[in-house]
Each structure stands twice: as C-alpha cells, then as structure tokens.
C-alpha cells in the first residue's frame, strides 16, 4: 500500500551505509521516497509523500542537499524556480528531464544520460556536469 515498503527501506539504508556516513531516520525516509518516485520531486511533494511524522522543513532541505553531495541524488532547477530531486540509481546515472509547461510535472528521461553528452566548452573551461531539460507538453496534457 502507500505504507512502508520493507524492501525499499532496506535498499535506501544500504545505499546510505555505503557512503560511510551516519544513517539517520530522515535520510532513510527521504531517499526511500526518491527511490520510489516516478519522477523528480519538489521539496513540497516530498513533504506530502512523507505525510504523517513529517520532517522539519529545514531538515528536509539539508538531507536533500546531502544526498546530492554524496552522489545519491541529483537536483534540477525547474522553470518555476523550484528545485526537484531524483535518486541516482545504479543503472541510470545523471539524466535529462522533461518539464511539462502545462501541469508542471517533471519526468526523468532515464534513457538520456547526461554523462555521455558531448558538449564543446571554450578553451580553459572545465565541464563537471551537464543539466539538460526539455520543456513542452507531457502525454497527459497533450
């Protein structure tokens, strides 16, 4: 149901453990939410998903930031100035996103890796990561 999924909790915990850092309740719950999500989630959407026994707003921000630093999640800046987060999972690494201009939903384009994307940068510039967002209409809003 919408309750806790044993397997995904264990999965989240294991990923956290593998960083060598502290495994805390907020980290487990947030990473689990991201792993189960179908797309990239805003801070607000995650708060709703966590529902009862919600975390403090600030803690959620800090956990999300931490997950990104540790490479367990990545962040995209939407056209609405709101960040969205999604888990980086073994098979699909950093990927492109689709943002629907009508409903605002952000879909992960898992097939479209941004690691392999070749972009020429001027001499002396060093590329460390690429953010690629396609904007348009999603299937629901067609």
């Amino acid at each position: 149901m919408s309750g806790v999924n044993r397997k995904s909790v264990a999965d989240a915990e294991e990923r956290l453990r593998s960083t060598g850092e502290r495994v805390t309740v907020p980290r487990v719950r947030v990473l689990e939410a991201l792993l189960q999500a179908g797309g990239a989630l805003t801070h607000q959407e995650i708060e709703v998903l966590l529902g009862s026994a919600a975390l403090d707003r600030v803690t959620l921000y800090r956990v999300l930031d931490w997950l990104c630093v540790k490479g367990l999640a990545h962040r995209m800046s939407g056209g609405d100035r709101v960040w969205r987060f999604s888990a980086i999972d073994g098979q699909h690494g950093r990927h492109a996103h689709f943002e629907c201009r009508h409903c605002g939903k952000v879909t992960c384009l898992d097939k479209q890796s941004t690691d392999e994307l070749a972009v020429n940068v001027p001499r002396g510039f060093r590329s460390e990561g690429i953010e690629l967002t396609v904007r348009g209409r999603c299937a629901q809003c067609a």
Copy 2:
C-alpha cells in the same frame, strides 16, 4: 565609453519595432543592455548596468518576461535559483550556457545551439524547447 552606444540603441529599437508592439524606453534600454552583454545577465546585473535612471524593479521583470515571449531574449534558470537572460540574435539563436560553480558567471555557448539538439522524449510527449547548462569551472577560476 560606458555610456549610450548610438548604433546599439538603433539596433535594439529596430528589433523591438519589428515585433509590431509598442517601443518603450524601458524595452529599448533593457534589450540594448542584453545585446551588449558578454554573457547571460541576472536581473540585478542589468539594474547595475542601467545605472543612473534605473527602472523600477517590477518593470524590469516585466520587460524581461516580455522579451522572452516575443522571442528577442531567452531565460535560463541558474543553479542559484536566479534567472539569467540573454538576447537571441539573428546568427545564434537559443543556445546552451556554461555556469561557473566558483564565480557564478554564466557564459553563452553560442556555438552550441539547442534548437538542433536531438533528444528522445517518451511517446506522447511534445518537445518545445531545450535548456542545456554545463556546470564547472570557467577559465578565470581554473
């Protein structure tokens, strides 16, 4: 010097005129600033550039938005939640950007058009535009 450049004012005015919409002082001054800029500018940076006889904050926001709607400029959402704007000029259309993680400066990668970029989207999704941002270290901050 840093004052008004006749030629670029005329250039800005002509572009505005070609939209068939009203040509106003704020629109001319803002578009001129964007045309002369080396990279993508934030709202704040534009305010500084305009210097004396600055526009109202709100007017500047509205002018920038209007320029984007009319296709004379485009907007990118930086990693710092701040929008940056650059003119779309005849030769180089919508293009990719480079954002320096150290100094925050955003450089236009004019050679890297985002119009020609081919990205596969899921069935039923319609792509209407692509935003591509490379993050890393710029030449100054190397």
